[in-house]
């Protein structure tokens, strides 16, 4: 999938075995990807800046300092992980998959298997990035709201009418109507349905006893 390589995606390769690391790096580079290598999980985690392109990490699951599984936990699903292993332990596989690994490949790893896994991981990375980007945008918009507007928003997404919101908050219906308009504008939505979806994405919920009965 050439798009992945063209868009400047990045593949991290982490293996404490020098010759395996070198060989895998060559292989992935020969397929056109950008590669960065580390000889330990710790070194990888300490790498510094965040990538602003799709990225994934190819990782040996059994390394001396911290295990691949521990690393996956620390990454916390922020980056897709492809595990490779010389040990072929089934319990380990299940653990890794449950923790959300994209793939789990036994050594020796064939080029087609590894490259396919990398492609899938990078697509997922793009997807994760997109989601991340959207969430950040929503949060920025949310910050535009005043505290009162936020209160109003939390109530109107439950389906309450302006009248009900007004009585709950102890103001005039006319005021609520004005707040509502400003919320819609600041949140850049044009319908209640859209607002609800946005609210769900960032987890804005009404106070307890929420949804208005109609």
């Amino acid at each position: 999938m050439k798009t992945m390589t063209e868009s400047g995606s990045l593949v991290f390769i982490v293996d404490d075995d020098d010759s395996v690391r070198r060989a895998l790096t060559r292989l992935v580079r020969s397929a056109g990807y950008r590669v960065k290598t580390f000889d330990s999980a710790r070194a990888f985690l300490d790498r510094g800046h965040d990538e602003d392109c799709p990225a994934c990490v190819v990782l040996d699951i059994q390394m001396p300092d911290i295990s691949g599984l521990e690393l996956q936990r620390e990454l916390d699903a922020a980056m897709p992980v492809i595990f490779i292993t010389g040990h072929g332990d089934i319990a380990m596989t299940v653990g890794a998959m449950k923790a959300g690994a994209t793939d789990f490949l036994p050594k020796p790893v064939r080029d087609i298997d590894l490259l396919r896994a990398i492609d899938q991981a990078l697509e997922r990375s793009v997807h994760l990035h997109a989601i991340q980007f959207e969430l950040e945008a929503i949060h920025l918009r949310l910050e535009r709201l005043t505290p009162r507007e936020r209160e109003v928003m939390a109530l109107i997404v439950t389906g309450r009418l302006n009248k009900q919101v007004a009585s709950e908050l102890g103001t005039a219906e006319k005021t609520i109507k004005a707040h509502r308009a400003r919320v819609m504008a600041k949140m850049e939505v044009s319908s209640l349905a859209q607002l609800v979806r946005v609210a769900d994405k960032i987890g804005v919920s009404a106070p307890a006893g929420a949804d208005a009965a109609h």
Binding site: S19, G86, P108, D111
Partner: protein, 453 residues
């Protein structure tokens, strides 16, 4: 060995008693002493006829040794000699009677290593019929008895009294039965000088059982080594897998580079160089495995102990990673020279290391460290220490664990440490365990410099 010593003491006692008897009863020992026909006849009285003709010269020699008959050599005998060398009376014990009493093969040899007499035990052990033996060269039974050119073993002191004979030195040799089969024996030779002539006394102890015991011990050690390698199988498979992985990826990368336009030959050359290195790496793993499972006799050579430790380290490295255990090595380069069997000493170290891993299986991973030290213990001794941070051993266990069939593992046979003990013993070293002051235990192996198994 103790059976032999008892037999030799018994024999010497018998010989001394026999001489004493001659003093007391000059006629008690030996025959009438008339050479020729009579001698032949009396000799015939003791042994079945068979090859008597060929035997005659030897039997005459025997007569000369033990009787008061005139010596064809014409040597004059002194009065004391006559008294001592005395007449024998029929019915009294002769040298042949004494030999028959011994529980092992015993023979007397005459000139040129020809058998003069042989007891029944000799015939039994070697598969001969009794009368086949006199007149046979001794080398037919023991091909290389170490008799010198004159077919006589070296004698310490011709002037020494018969009674002050030193005990025979026994040597382990190969012997051959009548059917041609070979077996191990211990042979003792001693010359008896009597009345101016030399007769060689040969005593043989069958050592087949000891050989078998030794072989059993070697077989058991081999089995233990194979079993250990079985435990390491998964880790070793991983060790081999690493170079295989590198080789595959390198080759597939090279194939892509070759399909490029233009072909990046420098990259391909680099790849090929790496593939060769990885192949060597894989064959090193195989070599190390083979070195452990090798079966064979002890091979005592000057040892590179640092190299032995290094090989063991590489063998257990993957296993250590799986068990989240770290190994620290502290090797002193300046060591007194030690000789020994590399395979066996490697087995000891392997065993101690794996035990250390086991000892720490219940310990949090951050604390799992094994420290392996190799240093001089004194100008002529080397000390190896394997230190773990487990739970240590109870004081009664410190000794017991080296006994066979003592184990704390559910699947264990409990033989590992007892085999290690016997290996270290064979190297004239010491193996023991001590609890550490902080936590865990340390196993020590001390080997003398220039030690020989």
């Amino acid at each position: 060995m103790s059976i032999v010593m008892c037999a030799v003491v018994a024999l010497e006692t018998a010989v001394i008693l026999w001489w004493l008897l001659r003093l007391i009863h000059p006629r008690a020992v030996g025959a009438s002493g008339i050479p020729g026909a009579d001698a032949r006849a009396s000799h015939a009285g003791r042994l079945p006829t068979g090859r008597l003709r060929a035997v005659v010269p030897a039997s005459v020699l025997l007569r000369r040794s033990y009787s008061v008959a005139s010596h064809p050599t014409g040597m004059q005998r002194s009065r004391t000699d006559v008294d001592r060398g005395a007449r024998s009376a029929p019915g009294d014990a002769s040298i042949e009677d004494v030999l028959e009493l011994l529980p092992m093969p015993a023979l007397t040899l005459g000139e040129h290593g020809i058998i003069v007499t042989a007891n029944a035990q000799t015939a039994n052990l070697f598969g001969y019929v009794r009368d086949e033996l006199p007149g046979t060269p001794f080398t037919k039974l023991v091909p290389e008895p170490g008799l010198d050119g004159r077919a006589q073993p070296p004698r310490a002191d011709r002037a020494s009294c018969p009674e002050s004979r030193r005990a025979m030195a026994m040597r382990e040799l190969s012997a051959r039965r009548k059917d041609g089969s070979e077996f191990r024996v211990e042979l003792g030779l001693s010359t008896l000088r009597a009345a101016g002539a030399d007769t060689t006394l040969a005593v043989i102890v069958d050592r087949t059982d000891r050989c078998e015991l030794h072989r059993n011990r070697l077989d058991l050690a081999h089995l233990a080594r194979v079993s250990t390698m079985g435990q390491l199988a998964a880790s070793l498979a991983h060790e081999l897998n690493q170079p295989l992985t590198a080789i595959l990826s390198n080759v597939q990368a090279a194939q892509r580079f070759m399909a490029g336009d233009p072909v990046d030959l420098d990259e391909v050359r680099e790849i090929l160089g790496d593939i060769v290195k990885d192949d060597y790496r894989a064959s090193e793993v195989i070599r190390r495995i083979r070195a452990v499972v090798k079966k064979g006799d002890l091979e005592v050579v000057p040892l590179d102990l640092a190299g032995v430790i290094r090989d063991v380290f590489f063998l257990v490295r993957s296993d250590a990673i799986v068990r989240a255990t770290r190994i620290e090595l502290d090797i002193d380069r300046d060591l007194p020279p030690v000789r020994g069997d590399r395979v066996q000493l490697q087995q000891v170290l392997l065993n101690l290391l794996l035990n250390a891993f086991d000892a720490m299986s219940g310990v949090p991973p951050a604390d799992r460290v094994v420290k392996l030290t190799l240093e001089p213990d004194s100008p002529d001794r080397v000390r190896i220490a394997v230190r773990d941070r487990g739970h240590g051993l109870t004081t009664d266990k410190l000794d017991k664990i080296f006994k066979p069939f003592v184990t704390s593992k559910p699947q264990g046979l409990g033989l590992g440490l007892s085999i290690c003990q016997s290996i270290v013993d064979m190297h004239r070293g010491r193996l023991w365990a001590e609890n550490n002051t902080d936590r865990g235990a340390t196993f020590y192996v001390v080997l003398p410099a220039g030690s020989v198994a």
